[in-house]
Symmetry: C2
Subunit: 159 residues, 2 copies
């Protein structure tokens, strides 16, 4: 080896060592960051779910209050007040569920197997496959069917 | 430099370069893993919150059904059926909220400023600072007070 070659080797060693130290340092910092991130995520997920839960449960408390008041009216045999109370409770709960994204499954028109369940088929004036009666309302949340509508459909041979 | 020293430098260079390459490789793999983790977490958080939401909303649908049936009974002037229906709705909703962890704030005994709000103080036979009437029930979820109980407390000078 010439002196120049030796010098080159020594420089190369210094560069390689510096780079090695830098990469090791970056690796250790990234590991620590990743660990912290993982811990924070676990906490955040619990918080997020808890907050959504709290909010929804809080909004149900006044519905429970209204129901209690309706029951008090019933105990006093104040029938008009009882009926008014039930109407109020129904309105509050329906509004709350609508705000949360709950939508009634539409049942006007042709039977839709994705959102409806046909429990019966009956002869009727209506076109075959048309929904002629809703036995139980269905509900959707976005694209998700929480419960299909239970319906009676027309056999169409009543004409 | 002796030949031995040169040989040592060359060996050291090889080691430093190998280590550098290993650290760089590990760094790049960890970066990719971290990125994937971040993306998965974002998806999971949405899923988790959505599922909790869906479950709770689904369990409210039968409560809405019962309320509708109670209203139908009211429309038919079937008072006993209406009252029975309201009782049923109240029971379902109260049970559902209890299962979700909702607990009534206790109001027997001394006033508790952490879970109760005193709206009035009145002379009474009861010891000063005792809750003598509940104007509105309070609710807790674990340690969290969703709504304080609104109460009347005794001034204690009625004796």
């Amino acid at each position: 080896m010439t002196d120049d070659e030796v010098k080159e080797e020594v420089d190369e060693l210094a560069v390689a060592q510096r780079e090695r130290d830098e990469y090791l340092d970056a690796l250790q910092r990234l590991k620590a960051e990743f660990d912290n991130y993982r811990k924070r995520v676990a906490r955040d997920q619990e918080d997020l779910a808890a907050r959504a839960h709290q909010r929804l449960l809080s909004s149900l408390v006044p519905v429970l209050d209204d129901l209690e008041r309706a029951l008090e009216a019933a105990a006093e045999h104040e029938e008009a007040k009882l009926e008014e109370g039930v109407r109020l409770v129904y309105r509050s709960l329906a509004d709350l569920l609508a705000r949360e994204g709950l939508v009634e499954v539409p049942t006007d028109g042709a039977f839709d197997p994705h959102t409806q369940e046909a429990l019966l088929a009956q002869p009727s004036e209506e076109e075959e496959g048309t929904v002629i009666q809703v036995l139980q309302k269905g509900y959707k949340l976005g694209d998700l069917v929480l419960r299909p509508a239970r319906v009676v459909i027309s056999q169409g041979n009543g004409r």
